[in-house]
């Protein structure tokens, strides 16, 4: 079935259209093929790009105002505090390692906190905020692991719970805490009350938008006479685990960064309760299977379920690890999870401690 639709253009326009079609290599192809090719850019968006585009919008819609309000509340503390730049060594060691501790399900499954606490690991410990209390309670303390850091980038008030325990106060003075300039002031206060030394950092969100960006404006506002360069800024990869990995090699300048508890997936139907939502719908439909894929890790023969947020995080982290492999060796000692592939060495935690104990 077809219908006729009239159109009217000038002779000059027709000539230019024909010329363009020929120039683009479509002289012998149909008009429809050529028009389709003109819209190819929109069609070629990968699933990863699509997920990133959607989460960029939902994250900005959800948190942008909160980032600005928190930054405003923290500004006086930032101006009178330390910059994370102060942690960058003048002469980085030619071989040094750190281990990032996440709170993914593998951390319990493989007793990794216990294994690390009983080890003689000499490198740096970087706890994600959500793992801090459990790490300390497991014996991973700054008494035994002298180079001890914790990081918070999340901006919600609930993050203060990560520091709300007597054991944090017990060891606070021996722990260096890296805080995003956009964390809740409640988080900052509980960190300060624990005795930790705070080092401020910016998190990159919109710096590519130029002088009108929040990053540019907040960067300018943190510059003072005593700190004319303000704070450095890091990629977060959307989550604190990736931020801790970035801190390991970009701030602390370690040549090797290990990961534990960084699964970016679930081993069963147990789901994270924070921001991960399972929408209503047919979980057996093809769109659900694409949004919630099962990822088989052939190295440890385990299968994880990802949700869109974990896809968002893990796609970026894997891409960044590969791109950064000329600067840092990333060793995933999680013994499972979804972070494997090009540029990622997967070993057991025991072997990480044995082989990268510097």
């Amino acid at each position: 079935m077809s219908e006729d639709t009239s159109f009217e253009i000038s002779e000059k326009t027709l000539k230019e259209i024909k010329k363009k079609k020929k120039e683009m290599g479509f002289s012998k192809k149909s008009w429809d093929d050529w028009f389709q090719s003109l819209f190819e850019d929109q069609k070629s968006e990968s699933t990863q790009e699509k997920i990133e585009r959607i989460f960029e919008k939902t994250t900005l819609d959800t948190y942008y105002d909160e980032w600005i309000q928190n930054f405003s509340s923290n500004l006086d503390y930032i101006k009178s505090g330390y910059s994370a730049r102060d942690l960058i060594p003048d002469s980085p060691s030619s071989s040094s390692s750190s281990i990032v501790i996440g709170r993914g399900p593998s951390i319990k499954k493989h007793n990794h906190l216990e294994i690390l606490s009983k080890s003689n690991y000499q490198g740096t410990v970087i706890c994600t905020d959500g793992s801090l209390i459990n790490a300390l309670k497991s014996g991973i303390t700054p008494d035994r692991f002298k180079k001890f850091f914790v990081i918070t980038i999340d901006t919600q008030e609930r993050q203060k719970k990560s520091y709300d325990d007597p054991i944090v106060k017990k060891y606070g003075k021996q722990i260096k805490c890296i805080l995003s300039s956009t964390v809740s002031s409640h988080t900052y206060k509980i960190v300060k009350e624990s005795g930790m030394q705070v080092y401020w950092i910016h998190t990159l969100v919109d710096y590519d938008k130029g002088k009108s960006s929040f990053n540019y404006i907040s960067g300018l506002m943190t510059k003072t006479k005593t700190n004319p360069r303000g704070l450095p800024a890091i990629q977060t990869g959307g989550n604190v685990g990736t931020s801790a990995w970035i801190v390991g090699w970009n701030i602390l300048k370690h040549t090797h960064v290990g990961l534990i508890g960084i699964d970016h997936g679930y081993y069963s139907d147990e789901r994270s309760s924070d921001d991960h939502i399972l929408p209503d719908g047919d979980i057996n439909s093809s769109k659900f299977k694409k949004a919630y894929p099962k990822i088989h890790n052939p190295i440890y023969n385990v299968t994880c379920i990802q949700d869109p947020i974990f896809q968002y995080y893990s796609n970026a982290l894997k891409e960044f690890i590969l791109k950064a492999s000329k600067y840092v060796k990333t060793i995933n000692a999680t013994e499972g999870g979804t972070i494997f592939g090009n540029g990622i060495e997967c070993v057991t935690l025991k072997n990480f401690i044995k082989n990268f104990n510097f």
């Binding site: 009239s6 959607i54 969100v205 450095p232 970009n250």
Partner: protein, 52 residues
């Protein structure tokens, strides 16, 4: 001026596009990340910027 005619073929609803739209809606309803992935035309800026 030149007059012409488009001969338009009507096709059935594109199932693929429909599924992609539903997939996007599903992603939108799955929550928000705690932070966001930063992208830049200059890839070197994507990891670390010493001074904003």
């Amino acid at each position: 001026m030149i007059k012409g005619n488009f001969k338009i073929k009507k096709i059935e609803q594109n199932d693929e596009n429909q599924e992609e739209r539903e997939f996007e809606q599903l992603i939108e309803r799955s929550g928000a990340g705690s932070h966001m992935v930063f992208r830049s035309k200059n890839e070197d800026d994507e990891f670390f910027i010493d001074e904003l």
